[in-house]
């Protein structure tokens, strides 16, 4: 940016030269606005993991990792500004943590040859690598999450959901609408009734939706919320005495700050997840020693071990491992964004690797391929214990209904390919 300003002053149209010394990971974070409660821990975890790699291992393959943070406020216009101002500095991969910004960036990154990793959010059908060459959403996507919820309910109810009523309370945006198609298909397949209740941005006003829930008496309420909407929903559910055991959120509705405001009444609330919770992993000892105690923690340094901190750290770990893979494939330490893309497409996460990183059983094992950018979509379930103020994993990472999801991915990515005249790759 500074360079760009100077160049324009000088009257030359030269693009800003990337500094090749570092591996650059932009962090389009949001520490302000109605979604900041979720944005802060994620960004802290993302930053801290790269700080750990730099302090402990001297970077990735001996090259320092550099995180450029840019505040988006969850706003798509600012997201575009952040993308344009950081892409010239050698950015390797973008993780915007916003479905809206993801939709803006999908065509742009494809044209600029920079990979985009939208872990558990973004455009679900981007799992089809044949159409979306530069977009990755491993290890799990929204439709895996929706199917994971239904699978869990099937298990609870002895494999039969006939005649049950499930209410979906969702954020009325692209993000919240994503699971509806899958849930509709699943309701036909398993014979349950689906009631969809939208909540408008930012989600503080939900009285009428909960009134309707009280009237309709659903067996289960599923929540697709984010930011302030989660806290309000859990509080409202407690107010109408909806049994918390039957209230289950997606992974963006299951963090400490969502359940804390409701206090003891939130006890038993559940959420699906694609990674482990808590700080019982060797990697956290290293983070404590090299990052927190050294005074190099991002933000206030008080988020370590929270659900979304773990997710940010997990995202950073996947990016770092993909960078390592890219370094091996191309035999060079100083990789470019195009090489990074190859590294992400060849990424393999097995238990041995997780163990060596100090994260045994932290997430599912998976591998990415040219046609599958979405991973296996293994989903676990977590539950909140209000007394000890901890989340705990109450089920293994289990497969979701690939039959239904595969068909929907095929359909939606096919429509995108036709609209944008994209030839399928991977042959």
């Amino acid at each position: 940016m500074k360079k760009t300003l100077t160049t324009l002053v000088l009257g030359t149209a030269m693009a800003a030269g990337p500094a090749m010394a570092d591996l650059v990971f932009p962090d389009l974070s949001y520490r302000t606005g109605p979604y900041a409660a979720g944005g802060i821990p994620f960004s802290d975890g993302y930053n801290d993991y790269f700080t750990l790699l730099n302090e402990r291992d001297g970077g990735i393959g001996g090259v320092t990792a550099k995180v450029i943070e840019c505040e988006t406020g969850y706003n798509t216009e600012k997201g575009v500004e952040c993308y344009e101002s950081t892409k010239g500095q050698g950015a390797l991969v973008y993780q915007p943590l916003s479905t809206g910004i993801t939709y803006q960036l999908i065509p742009k990154v494809t044209a600029d040859n920079i990979p985009l990793h939208t872990m558990g959010y973004g455009r679900t059908s981007a799992a089809n690598g044949e159409v979306f060459s530069h977009v990755f959403n491993y290890p799990a996507n929204y439709w895996n999450g929706a199917s994971g919820v239904i699978n869990y309910l099937l298990e609870e109810n002895g494999g039969d959901l006939k005649g049950k009523k499930i209410a979906l309370i969702y954020h009325n945006s692209a993000y919240g609408k994503e699971p509806i198609r899958t849930l509709e298909e699943l309701s036909e397949k398993h014979g349950f009734e689906l009631v969809a209740l939208p909540v408008d941005h930012p989600g503080q006003e939900q009285k009428s939706q909960w009134l309707q829930i009280r009237r309709e008496r659903p067996d289960t309420v599923v929540m697709w919320g984010w930011g302030v909407m989660n806290q309000v929903a859990i509080q409202e559910a407690a107010n109408i005495r909806f049994p918390m055991e039957n209230f289950i959120g997606v992974w963006w509705s299951g963090a400490e700050h969502d359940v804390m405001p409701a206090g003891a009444k939130a006890d038993g609330y559940k959420a699906v997840t694609f990674h482990n919770v808590g700080r019982d992993f060797p990697v956290f000892d290293d983070i404590q020693k090299y990052v927190v105690d050294a005074g190099k923690a991002a933000g206030a340094g008080d988020q370590v071990g929270n659900v979304l901190y773990n997710r940010g750290m997990y995202a950073a770990m996947l990016a770092a491992e993909a960078a390592k893979t890219a370094q091996e494939i191309h035999g060079t330490k100083e990789i470019t964004a195009a090489m990074m893309r190859d590294g992400m497409e060849a990424l393999v996460i097995d238990e041995a690797k997780m163990e060596s990183l100090g994260m045994p059983n932290f997430g599912p094992t998976f591998s990415v391929s040219c046609d599958n950018h979405g991973g296996p979509g293994l989903v676990g379930v977590t539950q909140w214990d209000a007394e000890s103020k901890t989340w705990s994993l109450i089920s293994d990472f289990k497969p979701s209904d690939t039959e239904v999801i595969g068909k929907l991915v095929e359909e939606d990515s096919g429509a995108y390919a036709a609209e944008n005249k994209i030839e399928p790759r991977c042959n």
Binding site: M1, K2, T4, L5, L8, G11, T12, A13, A15, A16, S29, R31, T32, A36, I40, E69, C70, E71, G73, N75, T76, E77, V80, E81, E84, S85, K87, G88, T99, G100, Y103, Q104, I106, P107, K108, T110, A111, D112, R123, T124, S125, N172, S173, A174, Y175, K177, E178, I180, R181, P198, D200, H201, G299, L408, D412, A415, E419, N420, K421
Partner: protein, 358 residues
């Protein structure tokens, strides 16, 4: 001194009533046009286009549109975001239904459709005014956003409810989509801005504009001297809607490329454009440009200074931005309630007399 009128003789009515009667002003205006059309397209890169110039150009069009309604005709409107959404969705439906038609025509048609919608929501203005009209247009804002969220036909039944601009061209040059060159998107928006500004300027100093201003200043007196309030108010709504629709279409198709109606065209957009008009100067075309530049550029400049130069944490800079922009708005309105356009007018007046004040 700088604005010398000595020797600048006008020998015809046309000369006397031109937009820039002082030669120095006129020359500078042509110089700005020459730089905008002839030099910037050759220097532009993606950052300048997508982060600074496109938002400035597009918000300028929206501000001109709203200024016609609020500044010239005195009809307070809080529905700008909703009307921009109409432009965006009209453009999207046209783009997907008629892929081979030029983007120029799509954007103009989108403006036309918005004009019709805007007139429909302007009908209550015949009976109510002031705060009551503001509430009526606020209803338009919420209704339109709700409509585009609710009816799947508007977003072509896509799973997420988002609209995405496919690649479309004009005269064989790509205008929308990720592969559109920066200079083409910039020039495309600049042409529309120049067109809108010219039309607005010439409308506002002709019969139509005078009837708007008469309605604004005192509607009963205007009616007595023969201004038709129905015609004056509805033409203001139509012209304003046309410009706002164009800006909405460009905002979606050229600038962002994908839009989620609640996020991009929410109530905050209406307020943003209204602030641009108020800060820039009500009833002034130049004020629309100044207000748009002020509110688009200031956050970017504060970010560059705070994050890139001073290395402050991003959240502190973001919070400071709110404080500083808010404080500057207050200071501006106290120091010069008539906006930046009036500041500029005063500065010009001083320069004309310099170095010999009265």
């Amino acid at each position: 001194m700088f604005y010398r009128e000595a020797g600048d003789f006008k020998t015809s009515y046309a000369d006397d009533s031109q937009t820039f009667p002082i030669k120095f002003d006129r020359v500078r205006y042509y110089a700005v046009l020459a730089v905008a059309f002839g030099i910037i397209p050759f220097l532009i890169n993606d950052y300048w286009a997508n982060a600074i110039l496109l938002p400035f150009l597009i918000y300028s069009i929206a501000a001109i549109g709203l200024n016609i309604l609020v500044g010239y005709c005195g009809q307070v409107s809080l529905g700008t975001g909703g009307f921009m959404a109409v432009g965006a969705y009209a453009c999207y439906k046209l783009m997907t239904a008629f892929p081979e038609v030029s983007m120029f025509i799509h954007v103009l048609l989108a403006g036309g459709i918005t004009a019709v919608v805007c007139v429909a929501f302007g009908l209550p203005s015949l009976r109510i005014k002031g705060f009551y009209l503001a509430v009526a247009t606020l209803a338009a804002q919420f209704f339109l956003v709700w409509l585009f969220n609710r009816v799947p036909w508007f977003y072509n039944y896509s799973a997420s409810g988002q609209i995405n601009a496919p690649e479309r061209d004009t005269f064989g040059i790509l205008i929308t989509g990720p592969n559109a060159p920066a200079w083409a998107t910039y020039l495309f928006c600049l042409i529309f801005l120049a067109f809108c500004a010219l039309v607005a300027r010439n409308l506002t100093r002709g019969t139509v504009g005078r009837s708007w201003m008469a309605i604004r200043d005192m509607d009963i007196a205007a009616e007595i001297i023969g201004v038709n309030p129905l015609k004056a108010k509805l033409t203001a709504f139509a012209v304003s809607g046309f410009f706002i629709g164009i800006s909405g279409a460009l905002f979606f198709a050229v600038y962002l490329g994908a839009v989620e109606v609640g996020e991009a065209f929410g109530i905050s957009k209406s307020f943003l454009v209204l602030f641009m008009v108020i800060i820039g100067g009500l009833g002034s075309i130049f004020g629309s440009f100044a207000g748009a530049a002020f509110l688009v550029l200031l956050p970017v400049i504060l970010k560059v200074v705070g994050v890139d130069l001073l290395n402050w944490p991003t959240d502190i800079v973001a919070h400071f931005q709110l404080v500083i922009v808010g404080a500057l708005i207050i200071v501006f309105l106290i120091a010069e309630p008539h906006g930046m356009a009036q500041l500029w007018r005063v500065a010009k007046e001083k320069l004309r007399l310099w170095p010999f004040p009265h």
